[in-house]
Structures are given as C-alpha cells and as structure tokens.
Symmetry: C2
Subunit: 205 residues, 2 copies
DNA sequence: TGTACATCAGTGAACGCGCGTTCACTGATGTAC
DNA sequence: TGTACATCAGTGAACGCGCGTTCACTGATGTAC
C-alpha cells in the first residue's frame, strides 16, 4: 500500500470502505463523516472533493451493496438452473450469505434509512436484485397448479421476509438475543417447510 | 391536561412518551434526550431526576414495550384456545398488530441497539413475550408425528423471523420500498403455507 | 387554621465535545512547448 | 530533457450547532406542631 504524501490515489473508494467498516461497527446512525475521513487518513474537508456530503457517501456505499447483492443473486440463480427449485433455494441462500459476508453494505442498504429512490442509479440496482428473486419465484410457480397458485411476487416476498427476519434476529450478533440454531439452518429448514406447503417438494423429503 | 407551573405531575411517564414519539419519528439513533425533555416541556437537566441518562430512558421505553408485547401475545394465545392451531396463528397476528400499533416501542425494542440483558427486569420481560410464542409452538407441535417433528423452538423462530421480516420490509413505510401486498395478508398467507408444509392444515384449505 | 421547615422536582447557566460544512489556501501532478 | 503553467486533490482553520451531562440554585409541596 504505497502511501503517497499528498495525493491519496484512490480516496473515493477508500472513503467508501471506511464508511462501510464504521457503519458495521457503529450502526447506521453512529457513522460520522469525520471519522470516515480520519480512517482514510484524510481531513474531513477532503471528503467534499468526492461526495456531496454525508448522505451521499452512505448512498454510494448502499449502491455498491446493491450491485454486489444483485450479482450474487444472479450468480446463484444461474448456478441453480435448470431446476427451478434449486435456482430458487439458491437465491434464498445467497441472501443470507450476502448479509453475512457484507454486513456493512447490508446495513447501508436496509437499515440506514436512505431511500432507494434517492437516485435512479440506486433504484435500478435495487430493482435488479429484487427482480432475480422474483424471476426465480415465477419460474417455480409454473410448477404449481394454476388455479391455486399464489402470485409469484407474493411468495418471493415471503421468502424475502423470512430471510430478512432470520438475518436481523439471528444472524447479526443481536445483543443478548442468542440464536437457538445456526442462522443458515434456520433459513434452510424454514424455506423447506414453506416449499412443502406449496406442494413443491414431497412431504417426506 | 392541567399544567402545573413548576411541578410536572408525572414527568417520568411524559418523558417516556416523548421518547417513544421521537424514536418513531427520527429513528433509534436520531432520538435525543434534549429533544425529549423539550417535548415534555422541561429542561434537559430535569431528565436526570428520573433517569440515569439517555440510554436509561430508551431502555425504559423498551421495557414498557416488552410488557405490552407480552400482554398482547398472552391475550392472543388465551383467546385462541383451546385450539392449538388458532392459538398459534393468533400470536403470529398479534406480533404484526403490536408492531403496527406501537411503532415507537417496537423500534426501541428491536432497533435501538440496547441489549435485552441490560437489566434483569428487561431480560425477564423479553423472555416472557418470547415464551408465549414458544408455548404456542410447543402445543402445536404435539399434532405433528413425533418422528418428523422439528423442535418447537425452531418453528417458533421461523414464525418470529417471518413476522419480523414482514414488519421491517413491508409494514413500516420503508422509504421507496412499497409493499406489493398488505402486510397482514402477506403474513397470513405466509404462515398458512408454512403450516401446510408442516402438515398441520389440509392442502386444500 | 397557621406557621416553620424539610423534602423534592424543577431551573438555567455552563462545560467540553464532535459534528457537518465552508473557505481561502497550497502542494503535487500532468501537459504544452 | 527541461521549464512554465494549468489543473486538481488535498490542507487547516474556522463556523455555528446541538449534544449529554454537571452543578449550585430556587420554587413548590407536604408535614409537624
């Protein structure tokens, strides 16, 4: 890591990385621009060469998060093909994996309070990620008898909610709320039971 | 509302109420002690007659939340009796109802970052609420063949996670993340499918 | 019922602090000739 | 290759602000006699 005296080299990304670490450590509201600057080895004022301000920096972190998230989801979906079922469960697993591997991004995206409609770019990235899950749900719903098939967007929402709940309650080191089971087991079994409820996997599997 | 000149009457509760409103409006970290004092019509210093400080005030709000929550859960459970199934689904519904009706408490409890083990009182209140759901799950699990019965604490965790996820993603006015369906429908159908997966309700019900 | 006094719940001024943001500046880099 | 100069990324001092917390105080309440 060559430390150039005056010019940083890639301050923009360094600031985003610092922000992510701080968001992870201090929570979405505990994060401060000044501290991020300090951690990147730079004066707070320097931040304004690259971002409009505090909010803009968080939004950028969230944007990168949505992009990584979308990539992971897409990759999981592709890898699960051609089976609609395995593609679907893979995306569910990818959700949890993302939350575990990129906690800073996750918080910036879902807990920082920044609106996903802040910029068209951000909205697009969020939509892309969401669309993968919905696509997987649509594929899968083809296997349910049409007359009793719930809308695909509904069960994509169910799985999303279950995943999110597992992450929030049991995957993060929620202070004093120890998980009774490993988060990934919890999600895996939960999705399994749910899919059985849809008649998509056999009762004794 | 008789405004006594100097003495407030019930400042302690007024401060908690103010805190709850502010937490709801500004988020868990955006809440400030000074503002809560101001809203209660009192100097910031007055807060220290009733609480040890900022954290203590939030913890008290959370405590009251857990107590209300526990009551609601217990009431729902009792009312659903003697059917294990209806008692169980009623507690699920109560979760969502609580989040909708007491958003400030909900945030103080689940998003403020205060540890549930901060005081024995708080831990007890949290445990009580949780135990109701677990009891309902245990009752229900009696109806599943013993050999393929998942631990009751596991499916209580599933339902809790699903409920929490629905609340976080679709019930709160998540900026720019409009729900495709009403939150209560989402939870109701989700739990329905899940219970079908456990073989607890018939496939064509 | 009236007075003296202890108790207690509030005041208001002050503190040190870190925040986000602005500004004129300066040092480093890169390009033109 | 060397010099002049424009561009740009950083500095550092300053700002006004609201925060949580402390302190000596004072006004209101309630009790004893």
């Amino acid at each position: 890591m060559p430390k150039r005296g005056y010019h940083h080299g890639n301050l923009r990304q360094a600031l985003i990385d610092a922000a992510l670490e701080l968001i992870e450590a201090r929570g979405p509201m505990g994060f401060t621009l000044s501290e991020a600057a300090k951690q990147a080895g730079v004066t707070p004022a320097a931040v304004y060469r690259h971002f409009e301000g505090r909010e803009d920096l968080i939004a950028e972190a969230a944007l990168q998060g949505y992009e990584i998230f979308g990539d992971l989801m897409q990759y999981a979906y592709d890898k699960g093909q051609p089976s609609a079922l395995s593609a679907f469960t893979a995306t569910g697993r990818a959700y949890l994996a993302f939350a575990g591997k990129y906690p800073g991004h996750y918080i910036a995206m879902f807990e920082s309070g920044i609106s996903v409609n802040r910029t068209p770019e951000l909205a697009a990235a969020a939509t892309r990620a969401n669309d993968v899950l919905e696509k997987a749900a649509t594929d899968l719903s083809q296997h349910i008898p049409a007359d009793k098939r719930p809308p695909a967007s509904m069960f994509s929402a169910h799985i999303w909610a279950l995943s999110h709940g597992v992450v929030e309650l049991f995957a993060r080191n929620s202070p004093g709320r120890a998980s009774p089971f490993p988060a990934d087991d919890l999600l895996e079994t939960g999705i399994g039971i749910y899919l059985r409820g849809l008649g998509l996997i056999s009762p004794d599997d």
